[in-house]
Symmetry: C2
Subunit: 437 residues, 2 copies
């Protein structure tokens, strides 16, 4: 074992995931060495704060506040970036790539916003950036897409990618609680940030969707091509009405591609109770991938947290190390990024079924007039449910489940109905229904 | 593109999967070339029968009945073995490996029975054998275990690995049909072989379990260390009683490992309705993997069939080709196989809960005496259900759900109860209950 090749590892960012990576290397390093035939040797951990106890024993000599110096050390072969954000993280990543050192990162925001530049720099310096931990925590979904399913043209990809949102939706449904109350509880329990916008407004899911779509279709996916709606302020009533009709509401990333282009969106979506994505509860994540050869496959696991992310980071470290031993990158992602031009579908032309809830004055004819407007826009109605007015309320909820309709027509119909006499609480609640066909 | 490196591929066996591989290379070869930066070029297809139409257009010049000559051609770099069985398949695989040519196979039987020898020969000739298609059809579970989860000590692995059995169990439950009738229907529909033993007696699942266990624990797993029970003759009544108690019966491969050794078994197992493995129906497969870092992950997809297997074979071809371009194997599986000695747990010491069904004469005291025997063997009783006798039957079914108990004690208790006056239809039905803790 003494002659085993050593690969020097630098970890930037000693937060939750950084500490998890150090702990995993300590705990399973010997086993990993046996599996890989090489040793991942921790050369240093850089963080602005090297005082706080992270619950993992590290030789103080390994700790440094100088990330740039650590990256530059000749005995550092691979750099792990776990700082997050697009400031120092980006600078350090570019420094490492320009030195020809492969980078492992969990930074979806950086990849979504600056992926094209980062992949280009990796390409120019004949090195690579690996990012399994950026999507789906410990689920090896990036590897599945990039390698395991490489024989497939990807037809569609549906993901529950944000544990915070899924936790909130699960608790809202199970305990029949309002959004604000569950959000506060999630914040108190550490499942949600004090500033929850990145999660609950769908941006984090959008970053991850952009990363997955860029892999699936071999293209850069600018964030302005990703339509985003979050779960903030979702009404418990809609979760209950959806349940009555056999659906569960999930925040879904939906990626679809065909000859006419690619669409990437994030939105609350109704999923049949019997579908596997409906069974994904709490902080778990899942990704359903349809390939033209393999058919439907699904990947499920813990979407976040120290250990799950560490599992993914160390798997990437193993790949980077094996590639270094073999003389370089194995898969040339950057080239695919640069070469393939992809058209994005006009969001207005996307066709989907919808769950619509209007609040209507309890007067004759309003429901019929709304239905007429939908019909005029060639939107079929699969079912209608009018509930009794809540005690003391002047308005009744009216729910339409529509047939497949173009988003453009749907938006026009909703605007018309919102302007109708007898319709209040505008705009209506409108969620996509996904049949996974 | 004209200077793109070419990797020459030979396909042995032009049956269902072989035709699927050829079709996939034709259909998605260009896309794959773009993704990999190299071209998988089909050099030939060998089969004893080169006349039958396989529904895929192949240049007749590519067809040959001489597999050995095809393997030996200098322009063949990788060999795909899809003949099946342990005769010609083994000889061809060893020929290729001895020529230093990597092999891709779907042959779980061969790997389970001769894996040690095959891995040793691959090791000796510094080449590799890849076998993603041998377990779980198109699900990239081998890659997930070997690469994606390499940072983890695998704690347990639960798999629904045989589509035929799962199809039979699903139809028996949904349509309340007896085993024989569903088996006949499955045979007529092509979901089951005329000689169904390999599937329904659990042997195919055992082969796959041995392959997964050898990867998870880095050891050779002789088939005689795998305890096997199949689903042949399962009573529709047990499926119904299990359902009443909130369980579904699945044929599960169960692999667990710890400091005291590894256990590998295949048996009909009761799984809570709410568990994800219970939701896997029809010909689909799923594998649940627990790692000490990542926690629980799950992988799901079509477990068999031309296209799903082809997706896995071509993914392996891609890996083999990339490794050849990089100068050789990336992961050294054979070494792990040879180096690590592993203890296998004594099956008698495995602890599990059980579903037991006895047929008892409807006379006072029999149930109580059976319960007393269980107690004497320190087997706790979680619940008891006595059903009314079927019309005209002299016997009543009595179901016990036990607490955790050693297999050895369970076997002894069952033997004692079987010998009791008033107990008929011996031996009792006894299925494991899995709580996935």
């Amino acid at each position: 074992m003494s002659k085993m090749k050593e690969i020097g590892v630098a970890v930037l960012g000693f937060g939750t995931v950084g500490a998890g990576v150090v702990e995993t290397l300590q705990k399973n390093g010997a086993l990993l060495g046996e599996r890989l035939g090489l040793r991942l040797a921790l050369r240093g951990v850089a963080d602005l704060d090297v005082k706080t106890d992270r619950g993992v024993a590290v030789d103080p000599a390994l700790l440094t506040t100088d990330g740039a110096a650590l990256i530059a050390r000749p005995d550092v072969d691979v750099v792990v970036e776990l700082i997050g954000g697009t400031g120092a993280a980006k600078a350090f990543i570019l420094q490492a790539l320009k030195l020809g050192k492969p980078v492992v990162t969990a930074n979806k925001k950086l990849l979504a916003e600056h992926g094209e530049e980062i992949h280009r720099v990796a390409e120019e310096h004949k090195t690579e950036i690996l990012f399994e931990a950026s999507v789906g925590g410990g689920i090896p979904i990036i590897k599945a897409l990039r390698e395991g399913l490489c024989a497939n043209r990807i037809q569609s990809l549906y993901g529950i990618l944000n544990g915070t949102c899924n936790y909130i939706l699960t608790r809202m449904e199970e305990e029949k609680l309002p959004f604000d109350e569950v959000l506060k509880a999630a914040q108190a329990a550490g499942y949600a940030e004090a500033e929850p916008s990145l999660d609950v407004d769908g941006h984090d899911t959008a970053h991850k969707a952009a990363v997955l779509a860029s892999l699936a279709y071999g293209c850069n996916v600018p964030l302005n091509k990703v339509s985003v709606a979050g779960i903030r302020g979702m009404a418990a009533a809609d979760i209950a009405y959806a349940a009555e009709m056999g659906y569960r509401i999930k925040l879904l990333a939906i990626i679809q591609g065909g000859a006419d282009g690619v669409e990437v969106g994030v939105q609350p979506t109704l999923v049949k109770h019997s579908h596997q994505l409906a069974a994904v509860s709490g902080v778990f994540n899942a990704v359903l991938v349809k390939g033209d050869v393999v058919g439907t496959t699904l990947y499920y696991g813990r979407g976040a947290g120290r250990a799950a992310a560490a599992s993914a980071v160390v798997a990437d470290l193993a790949d980077a190390a094996l590639n270094l031993r073999a003389g370089g990158r194995r898969r040339d992602l950057s080239a695919v990024h640069a070469k393939t031009p992809v058209a994005f579908r006009d969001p207005g032309e996307i066709v989907a079924r919808h769950y619509l809830r209007f609040s209507m004055k309890d007067q004759p004819g309003t429901l019929a007039r709304a239905a007429t407007v939908l019909g005029a826009h060639r939107i079929g109605i699969d079912s209608v449910m009018q509930k009794e007015a809540a005690k003391g309320a002047a308005y009744v909820p009216v729910i339409f489940v529509t047939g497949p309709a173009q988003e453009r027509e749907m938006a026009a119909a909703l605007a018309e109905i919102a302007a109708m006499d007898g319709v209040v609480d505008r705009p209506a609640v409108a969620y996509r229904i996904e049949d996974f066909e």
